[in-house]
């Protein structure tokens, strides 16, 4: 639904969006500069809940976060910790109950083409081909471009995600991974300032997932566009991100401390397994997430009034002749 809402954008905005973002921080300098770069997105004291009165549940509580120009930020959390709410706030599909979210100093009041969202359920139009789906977005966002220019643009992004051989296929003729590639190409082709990836890979099997991670990483390293990815996979977060922010388990989820991923790029999955920084960081983030979850479980258990059930002292019968297989 977010992507569909990108279609009716004015040409003015479209022109503004084509500005390339090449600001890449040199992170190595240990000197504090007087004028720090302004974050591209700022979340200040953001609170979001559903319902009202006694039935109100607060999903996100006091979220403060600066998203930096050109960085790859991974938000890592458990399912049910408000990850999707978090992303929808950034996309402008939800507005905060309290606090403010600024994009380049301006409050976010709705979805816009400057933020491109890719989510788990690729919302491709089933009657259009890969090319058609991407062209539809490009044509609507860059309607002032010449036809040939738009066509070249579409082809460039089809190629970027490695789908040239399948550009004529329709979504039902594609594997899950290929559909997600199409979805990614469509969003990238709209040249958003910030790419929002909401667990884009979690519906895929491990192998396809790894391939797409490498793909996303490769594309990001070429484009260096600001990217926020929500994930539940610590390894995935470390592989792609500059910084990792844990989302503590809800209700009333808040952000944990930021972990810096000081690993050289380009990164190689196989080589990382032998890298001591990788190992220690993996341990640190995993330990952190496990500890916050344990804390939340302990708090929950302290408030629970479930009856304790005693197990009857019985053994199952020995079925000498198995009457039929019991599906366990």
């Amino acid at each position: 639904m977010s992507i569909d809402s990108h279609y009716d954008q004015s040409t003015d905005q479209a022109n503004k969006m084509t500005t390339a973002f090449k600001v890449q921080a040199t992170r190595e300098s240990p000197i504090q500069s007087v004028q720090p770069p302004i974050p591209i997105i700022e979340m200040r004291g953001v609170v979001k809940g559903y319902g009202s009165g006694v039935t109100r549940t607060e999903v996100l509580h006091n979220i403060n976060l600066n998203i930096r120009q050109g960085e790859f930020l991974a938000v890592c959390g458990f399912s049910g910790s408000g990850k999707t709410t978090f992303m929808q706030l950034l996309a402008g599909l939800l507005l905060p109950d309290q606090g403010v979210i600024l994009m380049e100093g301006e409050p976010i009041v709705g979805p816009g083409p400057d933020r491109g969202l890719v989510f788990q359920n690729y919302s491709l139009l089933p009657w259009l081909t890969v090319r058609g789906n991407i062209a539809l977005s490009v044509d609507s966002v860059f309607s002032n471009w010449a036809k040939g220019e738009r066509r070249d643009h579409v082809e460039k992004f089809i190629e970027m995600v490695g789908l040239s051989h399948a550009a004529h296929r329709r979504p039902h003729e594609l594997s899950g991974g290929m559909r997600q590639r199409t979805s990614l190409a469509r969003t990238l082709a709209m040249k958003p300032k910030v790419l929002l990836l909401d667990e884009p890979l979690s519906a895929l099997d491990a192998l396809t997932r790894a391939q797409l991670q490498d793909e996303i990483l490769k594309i990001w390293e070429e484009e260096r566009q600001t990217c926020v990815m929500i994930t539940n996979d610590v390894d995935e977060a470390i592989l792609v991100a500059d910084r990792i922010v844990p989302l503590n388990p809800g209700p009333k989820a808040s952000l944990g401390p930021t972990f810096a991923v000081d690993l050289q790029r380009p990164r190689n999955r196989a080589a990382l397994n032998h890298n001591s920084t990788f190992k220690n960081l993996r341990r640190a983030v995993t330990n952190y997430l496990l500890a916050v979850r344990k804390k939340s479980r302990d708090d929950e258990a302290a408030h629970s009034n479930e009856p304790i059930i005693r197990l009857p002292d019985l053994q199952p019968v020995e079925l000498r002749r198995y009457p039929k297989w019991i599906p366990t």
């Binding site: 594997s175 991974g177 995993t286 019991i326 599906p327």
Partner: protein, 288 residues
Amino acid sequence: MAGYVEMFRLGKTYDTKNGPVVIVEEFNLNMTQGEYVCLLGHSGCGKSTVLMMAAGLNPISTGGIVVAGREIDGPGPDRGIVFQSPCLMPWMTALENVLLGVNQVYPHATKAQRRDIAAYYLSLVRLGSSLNKRASALSQGMQQRVGIARAFALKPKLLLLDEPFGMLDSLTRMELQEILLEILKKDKVTTLMITHDVDEALFMSDRVVMMTNGPRARVGATFHMPFERPRVRAEVLDHPEYYEFRSRMIEFLEEQDHRKLHREVEKFTASRMESSSDEEESNVVAQH
């Protein structure tokens, strides 16, 4: 108590129109009572075949399997199985799903006792507050927990786990791994688990058995885990040998990968060029 479970020169051969194909060959494994063994290998390497033979769901071609002194012959409730998808009856509640099996193996129990057995195991998997929810209303992780409760409620002699957490996201997976170990702390069931997740194998098992890629899959290497029980994940991750084991297992898998690739390249060149470079689709096929 060596040899509570014994797999002796286990083999599986399929007859095809191009002659017999040997999937598993000379597979030997002894498990002591209460031991947790992981079979680690790539998908399609034959580890599922071994598990299905142990379950009695796939006929054994050569050799045999003995569980608690009795050679297996077909499926039975003495072996509990948990698959990747829990296969619950969607219209039944969590409790009713567990009761399906409980009613069959506890015919001598009262109705209330059977209910208690089912409810007890559901509370162990932290579903005590969801007993009466329909399976269709539960998340994938919760459904899998029902599957685990169902398997344990039958007090099997051998628990067979076929990538039970493969469909879950990595943090939910970690949580379920811990729940499973907690139950095993109470009911020390001998467990054979299949996985391709190296971290899962390291965290869960006493012994990791690596399988070579099929055809003719067999035991390639065995690792004994030095981590103390009960397992605390943070401590296991902090263990000085953790990453050493992890690297060695990953290396083994990578080596198998290369061999497989090598074989495929040979096959490919032999059977001239025809298909496009759609590596991903072949993976999709391999997964299903």
